[in-house]
């Protein structure tokens, strides 16, 4: 199990680096395995005799490198910016970084379906365009079927087919197949 985890970590990381740079049009990003700081404190508490402590220390050390215990650290650096704390990234930059990671997982281990519920909401038009191009490519390469819920007209225009959900009768949802010329009808229906 340990080897498999290390292998899939390396694959996801390779994909993540490539997808991030393509989504941001530059910059760099990577994943790292991270171990909780607490390991050393726990050892000190457990060890009664010195020998125990040393043994526990050694065990903690070898445990330290155990990928099965590890968390995942994400490093992201948009083009031209310094590497910094993830929380300083903007709303759109965080959404785009999350998408790059999600798609890296798909390429490593394809899933039959992917549903994205207004994932493009925080994105500006330029990033919506890059996001759609990537969804198109992943759908083609990995065979994953995508359901994309959106309010962005740019995204609607890139879909293979469109379904509109309306409430012609108040409170009751109905599904209709729509082509791109009819989107205004569906969206205006709410007035």
């Amino acid at each position: 199990a340990r080897e498999r985890l290390e292998e899939s970590f390396n694959k996801i990381n390779e994909h993540f680096k490539v997808l991030f740079t393509r989504l941001f049009g530059g910059g760099a990003a990577e994943l790292k395995l991270a171990w909780p700081e607490k390991k050393d404190e726990v050892t000190a508490e457990e060890g009664s005799a010195l020998a125990d402590a040393q043994e526990a220390e050694a065990a903690a050390k070898s445990k330290k490198k155990d990928p099965l215990e590890a968390g995942l650290e994400i490093y992201a650096q948009p083009p031209g910016k310094k590497l910094q704390n993830l929380s300083l990234l903007s709303g759109g930059e965080q959404a785009l970084t999350a998408v790059a990671l999600l798609f890296a997982m798909f390429l490593t281990n394809p899933s039959p379906i992917c549903v994205l519920d207004e994932v493009d909401a925080p994105l500006d038009d330029a990033n919506v365009d890059r996001f759609c191009s990537m969804v198109e490519e992943i759908a083609r390469d990995s065979g994953t079927r995508f359901l994309v819920i959106t309010h962005h007209r740019l995204t609607m225009a890139r879909m293979d087919r469109l379904f509109g959900v309306t409430m012609a009768e108040r409170g009751i949802s109905q599904l209709v197949s729509v082509d791109l010329t009819q989107t205004d009808e569906i969206l205006e229906a709410a007035e």
């Binding site: 970590f9 990671l101 490593t108």
Partner: protein, 168 residues
């Protein structure tokens, strides 16, 4: 395993039986606020074995049953069916002999829900395993709920382990 169709009856705002074809490539879903788009995502999560009412945005699981409107009475039963093309035999357990699988989950107000695969009653566990083996399921990271896409960024490193586990 390929998903081919989702059918909702009496589930949330979809009181009349509604079919959503799931075809290769990208299917866009559009519509005004509050019309029922996110309810479709929840129907998919629910039929794949979701156990938490909170993730269905309700207080209890019965909240997924159509609650009635100004003009229509509430329902007592909700049902979601997911049709799967299984020609590649990706599915290990329950129903590996069939070319097409129909997974159905049905809930009755006040008496819980049950699952059927191709008409045969199965446990929730069987359904969850069926989808986990195909790298999907109610908890799959590939079902990104509204407003949650960046949640993985603000999570702690230890809470991101599913990224690795899922793929392993």
């Amino acid at each position: 395993m390929q998903f081919t169709r989702l059918r909702l009856t009496g589930f949330k705002s979809f009181v009349d039986s509604t079919d959503l074809p799931i075809e290769p490539g990208m299917t866009g879903v559009i519509g005004p606020n509050g019309c029922g788009k996110s309810n479709l995502v929840e129907a998919l999560r629910w039929v794949m074995g979701e156990t938490s009412a909170k993730r269905m945005r309700g207080g209890e699981m019965d909240d997924v049953i159509f609650g009635g409107t100004a003009t229509r009475p509430r329902r007592e039963i909700a049902e979601v069916a997911l049709l799967i093309d299984n020609k590649e035999r990706a599915v290990s357990n329950v129903a590996n002999l069939q070319d097409e699988l129909e997974v159905v989950r049905r809930i009755e107000r006040g008496s819980g829900s049950d699952f059927k695969v191709n008409g045969k009653s199965v446990r929730a566990k069987d359904v969850q395993i069926l989808f986990a083996d195909a790298s999907t399921g109610a908890n799959s990271p590939s079902l990104v709920s509204q407003g949650k896409v960046a949640a993985i960024i603000s999570a702690k490193p230890q809470d991101r382990r599913f990224v690795l586990e899922d793929a392993a």
